[in-house]
């Protein structure tokens, strides 16, 4: 017997893909989905069979690459976080009509809470809108099994199938029996069929009709039918659960001694909900509680409204994660059991912050110096934490920093003294969705400075390579696209590169850029310094760590703590001084230039050298 292996939910999904003959897997990183492709790539490294594994420039591109693989008869998959599916939604809606040849699984990971996302949106609603089936796993183990079901379903009905894990599936670990990955060679065959693959609106009508027929059949597909969990229980009430809430509810029903009393059903395929199941529930029970995340998808498909308790009746919260303590309260109330009142978390805990020595921090400090009264649109990534420095005013979605900067410019341009606008965007985010917006800004002569925070990696999600790195998901060597060339290709005439660790030079460059932008339109400053925690980085860091110390002249004014916000700078209120935490400090030396009183110095260096 092979020993059980501790596996992250995302690893279990990757294993499921491998076991079921997936030969093309694509993705764009995003929490909580990032480790799916990374784990698939790790398995591919061991296997080295002819599969295609790639990080794409964005989710839409990732989707379309994997989809074309399926059109050619291969089993393929694309994975992303829920807001990534928004980017790929154009492709998804149309692919549902055209259908698939090889099995095609769209993995969209939701983040109820939200823990690491802009929204709590429910990808199952996207499946409903696209009219494709969606499977809702409760655990890493079930997620792995559902990959097999998803491929089968997809090929049986020639339809894309969504697998919708949530954070608590993706980032849970379980002991799982490793599988036997076999190589399933398939014949590659793209059957030309313009009426389908390039359907005009007239044909789309017929495809839509066919799609509805598929959905009817899928709503009675035996393998994805809801499961009765506790066969012995009998009551006029029943509970329907799905996803991680099913995992919570199973434990809670047992703990509350309800397992043998109240019938419980687990829905595996929330859309389309099985027709027989809907009839059975409505015919059998007077009251039905539905517990699911995040929207009431199952609930809205149960026709007899007055018997259903859920999100629509406000019996289940519509916002936030369904924590087990919340599920316990809901089930207790529904079953008429006294709920246990427990005080949960009241302390908000420690807020996240940019790492000590993070080059973004220096860039943000410089932006505030160069345009102190500016508007600072920003974007999605580690640098969202520039919020802590007061150098981030807006965060909407991927790429919006550039177009929002343009919007602010157009809104204020007729004012007597329009504000300076300095936008920040990460390197990976710029590639993902910043480029079209920058072209637009050039055409519209938008006066703003775009600071591209180029740390040579996709940092927040675990250091996946960007198109500038020239390396693939499995570590293979690829071509690279340089950011300077791309910016200049967009038509930007002012494009300079500087290391933000050279703080004074960086500030004066930014001032030049602001001045330029007021008269001539977009200016781009590429703030280039590699991420400190990038494990993939091969070259040795060029920067030599600087040993800094705080001199006795420090009067504890707190300027550095408030405006530079480095976790290694700690205000010692008792001593009226700032201390440097030797464990956290990485020796970037930037704080030497930050202190307005020149009290932070390089250890053992003459004071006069450090004054500006």
């Amino acid at each position: 017997m092979i020993k059980r292996k501790l596996m992250l939910g995302n690893e279990a999904i990757a294993l499921g893909l491998m076991e079921n003959g997936c030969t093309m897997a694509t993705s764009y990183p995003g929490t909580p989905a990032s480790e799916i492709l990374a784990s698939f790539a790790a398995l591919q490294k061991e296997e080295s069979m002819p599969r295609h594994v790639q990080w794409a420039v964005n989710e839409k591109v990732a989707f379309e690459i994997a989809y074309a693989g399926s059109m050619s008869g291969l089993r393929t998959a694309v994975s992303m976080k829920q807001v990534g599916l928004n980017v790929a939604s154009d492709s998804l809606m149309s692919a549902a009509y055209l259908g698939v040849t090889g099995g095609f699984v769209v993995i969209s990971a939701d983040d109820p809470g939200p823990h690491s996302s802009q929204t709590e949106q429910d990808s199952r609603l996207m499946a409903m809108m696209a009219k494709i089936p969606v499977l809702d796993p409760d655990s890493p183990m079930q997620a792995r099994e559902m990959v097999a079901t998803a491929f089968e379903l997809s090929e049986t009905f020639e339809i894309p199938v969504m697998l919708r894990p949530t954070t608590r599936v993706c980032h849970a670990r379980q002991d799982i029996q490793p599988g036997n990955i076999q190589w399933h060679p398939r014949e590659i065959d793209f059957q030309k069929d313009p009426a389908r693959w390039a359907a005009t609106p007239k044909f789309r009508f017929h495809l839509h009709q066919a799609l509805e027929k598929k959905l009817d059949a899928i709503a009675s597909y035996p393998k994805t039918a809801p499961v009765r969990l506790n066969v012995g229980a009998d009551a006029s009430k029943a509970v329907i659960v799905s996803g991680v809430a099913a995992g919570h509810a199973k434990e809670i029903m047992k703990d509350l001694n309800l397992w043998d009393r109240i019938p419980m059903y687990q829905v595996l395929q929330p859309f389309p909900l099985h027709g027989d199941f809907v009839s059975h529930m409505i015919d059998t029970y007077d009251e039905i509680l539905v517990v699911e995340e995040t929207t009431g998808i199952i609930e809205m498909q149960l026709a007899d409204r007055h018997r259903i308790k859920g999100k629509l009746t406000r019996s289940v919260p519509r916002v936030g994660e369904l924590l087990p303590e919340t599920v316990e309260k809901i089930i207790s109330e529904f079953a008429g059991v006294d709920p246990v009142e427990i005080d949960g978390a009241s302390d908000p805990g420690v807020r996240p912050t940019l790492c000590a020595g993070c080059p973004h921090r220096a860039a943000f400090f410089a932006i505030k110096k160069a345009a102190p009264k500016g508007i600072y649109p920003s974007d999605i990534g580690c640098y969202t934490l520039g919020l802590n420095l007061g150098a981030v005013d807006t965060v909407l979605c991927m790429g919006a920093a550039v177009s929002q900067a343009a919007g602010f410019y157009h809104a204020f341009k007729n004012e007597k003294k329009p504000p300076d606008i300095v936008a920040t965007i990460g390197d990976s985010t710029f590639f993902h969705a910043g480029v079209p917006a920058l072209i637009d800004a050039v055409v519209q002569k938008v006066s703003f400075v775009l600071v591209i925070l180029d740390n040579r990696t996709t940092a927040m999600t675990g250091n996946q390579p960007t198109p500038a790195v020239g390396m693939g998901a499995v570590g293979e060597s690829l071509n690279s696209v340089e950011i300077e060339a791309l910016v200049e290709g967009c038509g930007v005439k002012f494009c300079r590169v500087e290391d933000p660790y050279n703080l004074n030079e960086f500030i004066s460059l930014l001032k030049d850029a602001v001045k330029y932008s007021r008269e001539h339109g977009p200016a781009v400053v590429i703030s280039r310094h590699p991420c400190l925690i990038d494990r993939l980085r091969k070259e040795k860091p060029a920067h030599q760590p600087v040993k800094v110390e705080v001199s006795d002249e420090c009067d504890g004014c707190g300027f550095c703590v408030d405006h530079f916000e480095c976790p290694a700078l700690v205000l010692n209120e008792a001593a009226d001084q700032v201390d440097i935490d030797p464990i956290l400090c990485n020796g970037c030396g930037v704080c030497i230039c930050v202190c307005p009183k020149n009290s932070i110095k390089e250890k053992g260096k003459d004071h006069s050298e450090n004054t500006k």
């Binding site: 823990h115 849970a172 991680v244």
Partner: protein, 191 residues
């Protein structure tokens, strides 16, 4: 024994301290002992120095999360973790906390404190606070609380040897840190 094992442990700290690594070691130790295991982790933005919390459930469970007042133990890598995540603990549960001062026990739950930060400096491994606290935890819980933990010091050592196989220096340092915490219990003279 295996069928009846049920232990729920919360591990809290801030991003960068190695909460996930400790969780992983304990989970691997559980598998080595033949138990099922279910953990839940914090990834993403919180890993940048924000509060990070892991749930570890050993035995047969279907939910990855621990409900308030259901945990058997808490490892707090930051002193504030006890007040912040103490609500997860059962009335008689244990807690092991990284803090300089001893903890005054005002309830029936045993709380053990160790200055893991100071010890980490002393052994010249500033980033080993997680392993020192883990070693300390297994020490106090096995010695002061009659083996209330599902795994032993030797189990954890074996897991480290497996995880860090081929990385001699890292393994040596890790074992030193684990032992430093484990032996600290004797020095504290508790019990």
């Amino acid at each position: 024994m295996i069928g009846s094992m049920k232990q729920q442990i919360v591990i809290s700290g801030v991003g960068g301290q190695g909460v996930l690594f400790v969780t992983r070691l304990l989970a691997e130790a559980a598998i080595m002992r033949g138990f099922s295991v279910f953990t839940s982790e914090t990834h993403g933005m919180a890993q940048r120095g924000g509060t990070v919390l892991s749930h570890l459930k050993v035995g047969n469970f279907s939910s990855p999360l621990i409900r308030p007042a259901n945990a058997d133990g808490l490892l707090a890598l930051k002193a504030g973790g006890l007040s912040q995540h103490g609500f997860y603990l059962k009335p008689d549960a244990w807690a092991a906390v990284n803090r300089r001062e001893a903890v005054v026990q005002d309830s029936e739950s045993p709380v053990f404190a160790v200055d893991a930060d100071g010890l980490a400096q002393r052994i010249h491994q500033p980033k080993s606070v997680n392993l020192i606290l883990l070693g300390f935890t297994v020490g106090v819980v096995s010695k002061a609380l009659e083996n209330r933990l599902f795994c032993s010091f030797e189990d954890l050592k074996a897991v480290l040897e497996k995880q860090l196989a081929g990385k001699k220096k890292m393994l040596g340092d890790a074992i030193t840190a684990l032992e430093t915490g484990f032996n600290e219990f004797e020095r504290l003279n508790l019990g």
